[in-house]
């Protein structure tokens, strides 16, 4: 039976797309956070934008609106966790405090699934030369 709880107007967590499916920008951000964490660099807004720009030279730094909107969506979707660093740390360094991001297990799974999909799509468009029709 349809209840008001099931209607999107009354639900905060109404999924808009299939769980675990990520968009290209979300993939770029998750990859950047993983890379930054691996290189022991704090993943926060600017370093994530710089990392994306480094990995794809045709792209400049991601726009503020696009970057923070996507980061917010990934946090809401449980793929990233965001923590504000301690104000004392920022104060001692003489800069505004940073919001640090970390990839969750769900985020890592989504990243892996997207990477596999990309590989499969690439393989489908690159047939082995020996199998090409010659006649």
């Amino acid at each position: 039976m349809l209840t008001k709880r099931k209607l999107s107007s009354y639900s905060l967590s109404m999924p808009r797309r299939k769980a675990g499916v990520i968009l290209p920008m979300e993939y770029s951000i998750l990859s950047a956070v993983v890379e930054l964490s691996a290189s022991e660099t704090d993943p926060y807004g600017y370093t994530i934008a710089a990392s994306i720009a480094r990995s794809d030279e045709s792209r400049g730094l991601t726009a503020h609106g696009t970057l923070y909107k996507t980061l917010g969506r990934l946090v809401e979707g449980g793929m990233l966790v965001a923590v504000w660093e301690a104000p004392e740390t920022a104060e001692s360094d003489g800069r505004p405090r940073r919001r640090l991001y970390e990839v969750t297990a769900a985020g890592a799974r989504a990243l892996q699934a997207h990477a596999n999909e990309k590989l499969a799509a690439k393989a489908a468009f690159n047939p082995a030369p020996g199998r090409l029709a010659t006649s």
Partner: protein
Amino acid sequence: MKGRPGLLNPGLAVWVLRWVALYTRGLPEAAARDRADEIASDLFEHNAAAVAAEQSNRATTVSILTRALTGMGADVLWRERQLQQEHRRQLSAASPALRTRYSRLSAVAVALGAAVAILTLASTVRVLTNVPTAWGVSSFTGLIAVTLGLLLALLALLRSSSRILGAVSFAALSLPLCLTVAQNTMYISLTFTQVMQSALAPFAATSYYLAFAVLFIPAYLLVAVFTTIAVRLRTLHRRIRVEACTPAHETSTLY
């Protein structure tokens, strides 16, 4: 972040933060503060990286400005989403009776708005197909503008965060709508024109102004209905907000 001495372009940073303050106005305090702090940090780090890379002031300014300008659309969409989430949160915390009243009023507003917009669109299509092509579209600019305005108002009416704006827009467009339809009646339907003329004839016999006033009765009704809807929606929004901010045991004493 106010004009720090180390910033390459403090004026630009202030401008970007003003834009942030503008699009976060009216949002839940935590969301607005998080976004403002995050952008302030981004501007600082961007500037620090530019200084470290010995990038020119001009290149840094262009880069920050480009990031701010190209992200404006996403900022507006983010704001819209935050408003919708907040509205849904408040609505889910409101009493079932209030939720039902809000849903019914919204359904009436959307149904009425859709009916008016669809009828207007159909009339505009008939006018544009029934007039000689030599006349050109410019002769019907008013009708086309009103139709587009009504379609935009319908879009606003469909979204919970802009429903009041949609109802007000319908009320504001009702008089221009009636005027443009009256001007083009013979291109919409000849039968309708004859019915209208015979209905207005007794009034026109008394006074031309009286007939004109009677002609606009549908417009007055639409203005009255949509204004009432907008006022009631605003009242319900306020009550929903109050209930969302008040503990459950206290809400019964509010009304």
